[in-house]
């Protein structure tokens, strides 16, 4: 256990996590500190560009890795099925309505790219490397969960989105985050090392500094959400935001074993699965399941699960994978 405390405190005392904490504090103190919306948006795109491009560039020149296909498949299956388990748990243990339970569950099936980025930092700072194509897994896990949630809601007879189905599908599949991540991945792959040399002074060295600023903003937003939303959540719902990622992590850590990834890649897969969306899925829910309450699902994913993963979750999942891989 000492080792976990060492790992966790090293993680928590990184500038990134401390800036997240500063944002939380600022929000709790009702400070007027805030990052303009356009800056938050471009930083999010920047992180996607950087993570995609670097992933793609390190793919180029490397022979095709057959484990990629299996990993993508596993990612899709997880994203489709996690919401089913989440929905069942929420209906059993909390008072959430069917529609709210479906919406919350969708967030846990999808992924959080910033949790993934924070994970890559933690993994790298411990000297582990990882398969570059793991970022492609992030891309495919973004949206199957949304379809499951819609199916759950329609079974509950509360969503009538037949007419808008195709349009909705296009909106979700081509949402800005996915286009940016996949596009940058492909451009990185095509241009390879020479391409990376060109953009590296922009996406490489300053990356972690930008991440600090972005996490500051996430802390502010999460803190504001908690201030407003926490009172409205039952404790069983809040608990779900903690035990659900841990349960997913455990399950995923085992399921990924047959792929025989590196420790770093394995851990990142687990981190992805355990993370909860707070950008793409909420937007999709507003369009497709407007009756679900944003105050509930945003508070859960951004206010409870994200801080948990960022501080304790990542080191815990890393230790778990290290233990499993011997």
């Amino acid at each position: 256990m000492t080792s976990f405390f060492a790992l966790a405190s090293q993680n928590i005392l990184s500038p990134m996590v401390l800036f997240f904490g500063l944002g939380l504090l600022a929000a709790f103190a009702r400070s007027d500190l805030s990052i303009p919306e356009s800056i938050a948006k471009i930083m999010a795109l920047y992180l996607l560009l950087a993570i995609g491009f670097k992933g793609g560039a390190s793919m180029s020149g490397v022979g095709f890795d057959p484990r990629l296909v299996a990993a993508l498949g596993l990612g899709v299956i997880l994203s489709f099925s996690i919401p089913l388990a989440g929905y069942a748990l929420l209906r059993l243990t909390t008072g959430l309505s069917k529609i709210d339970a479906a919406a919350v569950a969708a967030h846990y099936g999808s992924i959080s790219i910033v949790t993934f980025v924070a994970g890559t930092q933690a993994v790298s700072s411990l000297g582990f490397s990882f398969e570059p194509w793991i970022v492609a897994v992030a891309a495919v896990m973004e949206f199957p969960a949304i379809l499951t949630a819609l199916w759950l809601a329609s079974r509950a007879g509360e969503a009538k989105h037949q007419t808008e189905g195709a349009e909705l599908f296009r909106e979700i599949a081509f949402n800005g985050s996915i286009v940016m991540l996949v596009g940058s991945f492909l451009i990185g792959w095509i241009t390879g090392k020479p391409g990376l040399d060109i953009v590296n002074p922009f996406i490489g060295d300053p990356f972690r500094g930008v991440l600090c600023l972005f996490l500051l903003d996430m802390g502010i937003v999460a803190g504001r959400g908690l201030r407003q939303g926490a009172g409205e959540l039952e404790w069983t719902t809040i608990a779900f935001g903690i035990y659900m990622p841990m349960a997913i992590a455990l399950l995923t850590a085992v399921l990924v074993l047959p792929l025989d990834l590196s420790v770093g890649g394995h851990a990142l897969f687990v981190i992805l699965a355990a993370s909860a969306s707070y950008i793409a899925v909420p937007a999709a829910m507003r369009v497709a399941l407007p009756e679900a309450k944003p105050a509930i699902y945003l508070t859960m994913s951004l206010g409870v699960t994200f801080p948990f993963n960022l501080t304790l979750g990542i080191p815990a999942y890393l230790m778990l994978v290290q233990a499993l891989k011997g």
Binding site: Q228, P282, R286, P290, P294, L298
Partner: protein, 103 residues
């Protein structure tokens, strides 16, 4: 004195992720024009929100549409359909415009 003509002003406050659908509807209805104004904060039955939430969910915009009295009902109906299940409000008020041909 300049001649003015009575028209109706519709103001539709709607969530940003649904803006495109509303505008598509308005275009199919052949309204002569509209203008979209951003909002930075608000509160309604669904709680309070303010700019900078990472996701556009909950973020509102205001669509202003000047149209003739006769067209109001046929525009209100489909607009209401878009809003029905979603968060948003619609107001109608009287205005005078200078160039009637424009609308």
């Amino acid at each position: 004195m300049m001649q003015t003509h009575p028209k109706k002003k519709l103001e539709i406050i709607i969530e940003a992720p649904l803006l495109n659908r509303l505008l598509d509807k308005l275009e199919r209805l052949n309204v002569s024009g509209y203008t979209v104004v951003p909002a930075i904060a608000g509160k309604g039955s669904g709680g309070a929100w303010r700019e900078g939430q990472l996701t556009q969910a909950g973020h509102m915009v205001m669509v202003i549409c000047i149209t003739s009295e006769e067209r109001v009902p046929e525009v209100l109906k489909p607009v209401y359909d878009v809003l029905a299940r979603h968060i948003g409000i619609v107001t109608v008020s009287d205005v005078q415009v200078i160039r009637a041909d424009h609308f």
